[in-house]
């Protein structure tokens, strides 16, 4: 199969347990880690937007801001891909509940914040980014499909791209269907060529008809299993933390994405 190569220039990460990529590395090394504040800081947003923005936006913007800061790139120059398995489940729960009881009382602000591209919208507005922005989903493969889409964009446009994959915890009857028990977001700045900013090189290869390789491992109860992005990104996160290793992600139902991590010399 045809392969793709991209270079990681920045990594952002947020969960209720881990405030950033450095915290992940420390946690994996068995060192003590302080849990972040309950609300993602999302410092890229202007204060009034930060107050109004829904949880899904704060989470995505926090991870994105960290990755872009690490990369040293200008946020306004980066095409961006925002991927999420379920979007803002809090707003979906509110909307479905309100529509069932008092539909004409639906909040206009919550409605426009309910679009899947709300994080992309808030991000591009806050950073003054006029480049292409996208909001995608691929169910439980939302991380792998997002990585493939962002790498494809970086390779064809020959410019660095911001990838943000995030899901908040589920709420209400919908939350029971999604089984998302906690928030998690990860962001990567991916460049098409090696530069002085490169942290890691990702070799990507599609492996079709890979249903066996994609069968999930038995549950262990670990925190990352309670979020669709964290669960699928977990093998790659570990490899990024150590700077090497191969792993297989789901890019679609039966399509695997093999990712080999190497640290540039």
């Amino acid at each position: 199969m045809s392969g793709l190569q991209v270079y990681v220039e920045g990594i952002g990460l947020w969960s209720p347990q881990l405030a950033d990529f450095a915290a992940l590395k420390a946690w994996l090394a068995g060192e003590p880690v302080t849990a972040p504040p309950a609300r993602p800081p999302a410092a890229v947003l202007p204060p009034n937007e930060r107050r109004r923005a829904p949880e899904s936006v704060l989470l995505a913007v926090e991870a994105a801001g960290q990755a872009v800061a690490m990369s040293g790139q200008e946020a306004r120059e980066l095409p961006c891909v925002f991927s999420s398995a379920f979007g803002d489940q809090h707003i979906s729960d509110y909307m479905c509940a309100t529509l069932a009881s008092a539909p004409v009382e639906l909040s206009p602000t919550r409605f426009h914040n309910s679009v899947h591209n709300a994080p992309a919208g808030y991000w591009t507005i806050a950073t003054g980014c006029h480049a292409t922005s996208s909001a995608i989903t691929a169910g439980h493969a939302s991380f792998g499909a997002g990585l493939l889409e962002a790498a494809t964009l970086a390779a064809t446009e020959q410019r660095p791209v911001l990838l943000v994959c995030s899901d908040i915890a589920g709420h209400g009857p919908l939350g029971e269907m999604t089984g998302t028990r906690q928030a998690f977001g990860i962001a990567l700045v991916l460049a098409p060529t090696a530069t002085a900013r490169s942290i890691a090189c990702l070799e990507l290869d599609l492996v079709p008809h890979a249903i066996d390789a994609l069968r999930p491992a038995p549950a262990t109860g670990a925190w990352y299993e309670g979020n669709p992005i964290a669960a699928s990104a977990w093998p790659l996160m570990q490899n990024l933390a150590t700077g090497e290793g191969d792993c297989t992600l789901a890019a679609a139902e039966t399509l695997a994405l093999r990712v080999a991590v190497e640290t540039p010399a």
């Binding site: 045809s2 306004r76 398995a85 379920f86 979007g87 979906s92 909307m95 479905c96 529509l99 069932a100 539909p103 004409v104 639906l106 909040s107 206009p108 409605f111 426009h112 914040n113 309910s114 679009v115 899947h116 591209n117 709300a118 992309a120 919208g121 808030y122 591009t124 507005i125 950073t127 003054g128 980014c129 006029h130 480049a131 292409t132 922005s133 996208s134 909001a135 995608i136 989903t137 691929a138 169910g139 499909a145 493939l148 889409e149 494809t152 964009l153 390779a155 064809t156 009857p173 919908l174 029971e176 269907m177 999604t178 599609l206 008809h209 890019a251 679609a252 139902e253 039966t254 399509l255």
Partner: protein, 399 residues
């Protein structure tokens, strides 16, 4: 910054909307000026507005093998896939290239949220969804592409794009990139959005819904009429279908202005347009027809009319077809791509139904009535919430 692309063949396409099932009913409606809007008979509580509802969705039961995906949005997808022999074309592509070499990229904004709304109207005494709707697959925004991938037996890259009203325009760009890099040999693109309370009461709350059938670009326009649609297209390299019409280019941009209001000078819309022309290797003078976003909202139409008036010569014809179909939201990109392709195939510039007294910002390009003329190059504009813009360029195969 963008560079010209190699055109792709659009070797098959289809559309289903309030105008009917398949391309022929759309062509007949456009030619005769017959719109498809009706008084709202859909929402779970009364709401005085007009809608573009597709007849026959409720009866389009999914095959038993795919029953886990049952919901109104997937019924519309299934209905749409069976028009213009699109299902056969898709399966033929899978046969020729292999299941893992055909990508699937679909746009939707509603996905199957209508099924989640229904479940919340019928929660049991424990506050849980009723048994028949306790199916996680349909309570996720990927349910449309998940169903279509299974129904077509596709195993290649599979993605849902959900950027509000530009969703099913952007899918053409995703597909072109996958094919250019050799990650797929062909792609099925498209989109499906269905009427649901979320969009009817949501746009109502934003005071964007018109109490009368929408009137794009008219001075007396009062907002949008919401519609639903399904559409699909098969994209391949041109050597596989040299006589088919072509995707010449696409443009994508962000307004970076406001979540639900377009940039006042149309900055993002113009960036998407310029990007599409560069990738297509075209100048504005070569564009024969533009299918406009033209939602009939006060702001969109004013901004878009000014953009067309300043960027194109009078010989370029332009119209919004939302007076015929309503604003089909996440499906508008693919539906209006089909109108652009029909304009090329039939030499038909659709009239701008609902407009009698154009907004002062409109230039001479606006076609109020349908016109018969040769269309070699047609654009389609799609702009969404969050300032998400896309412009597609289609052309006739060279003689």
């Amino acid at each position: 910054m963008s560079v010209p692309i190699h055109p792709l063949a659009v070797s098959a396409y289809t559309a289903t909307s309030a105008l009917g099932q398949g391309l022929e009913s759309h062509l007949a409606a456009l030619s005769s000026g017959r719109g498809g809007l009706r008084e709202n008979d859909f929402s779970s509580a009364p709401l005085a507005c007009w809608i573009g509802r597709v007849d026959g969705v409720e009866e389009a039961e999914l095959p038993a093998a795919h029953a886990a995906w049952e919901c109104r949005n997937n019924r519309l997808a299934w209905l749409g896939l069976r028009q213009n022999r699109f299902l056969e074309h898709a399966l033929d592509a899978r046969q020729r290239y292999g299941a893992a070499r055909v990508a699937l990229v679909l746009g939707t904004s509603t996905a199957s949220i209508g099924a989640s709304e229904e479940a919340y109207r019928h929660l049991d005494e424990h506050g849980q969804m009723p048994a028949e709707l306790r199916r996680p697959l349909i309570h996720a925004p990927h349910s449309l592409a998940g169903f279509v991938a299974e129904a077509l037996g596709l195993e290649g890259p599979c993605l849902t794009v959900s950027t509000a009203c530009s969703s099913s325009a952007k899918v053409f760009a995703n597909a072109e990139r996958l094919i250019r890099l050799g990650l797929a040999d062909a792609a099925i693109v498209g989109g499906v959005d269905t009427l649901c309370d979320s969009v009817l009461f949501g746009f109502n709350a934003l005071e964007l819904v018109s109490p009368e059938p929408c009137r794009p670009f008219d001075q007396a326009r009062h907002g949008i009429s919401i519609g639903e649609a399904a559409g699909f297209a098969l994209l391949e390299r041109v050597d596989a279908a040299p006589d088919a019409p072509r995707l010449l280019g696409y443009g994508e941009s962000s307004d970076a202005h406001h979540m639900s209001t377009p940039h006042p000078e149309g900055l993002g819309a113009e960036l998407a347009l310029r990007d599409a022309l560069v990738r297509a290797g075209l100048s504005a003078e070569q564009v024969d027809y533009i299918n406009l976003h033209g939602t009939a909202s006060l702001k969109n139409d004013e901004v878009e009319a000014a953009l067309v008036a300043r960027a194109f010569p009078a010989s370029t014809r332009a119209s919004s077809t939302k007076g015929f179909t309503g604003h089909t939201l996440g499906a508008a990109g693919i539906l209006e791509a089909a109108f652009a392709l029909l304009a090329i195939r039939e030499g038909l510039v659709p009239g701008n139904l609902g407009c009698t007294h154009p907004d002062a910002a409109c230039g001479p390009q606006l076609a109020l009535q349908s016109e018969q003329r040769t269309v070699n190059v047609a654009l389609s504009n799609s702009f969404g919430f969050g300032g998400n813009n896309a412009c597609l360029a289609f052309g006739r195969a060279p003689a």
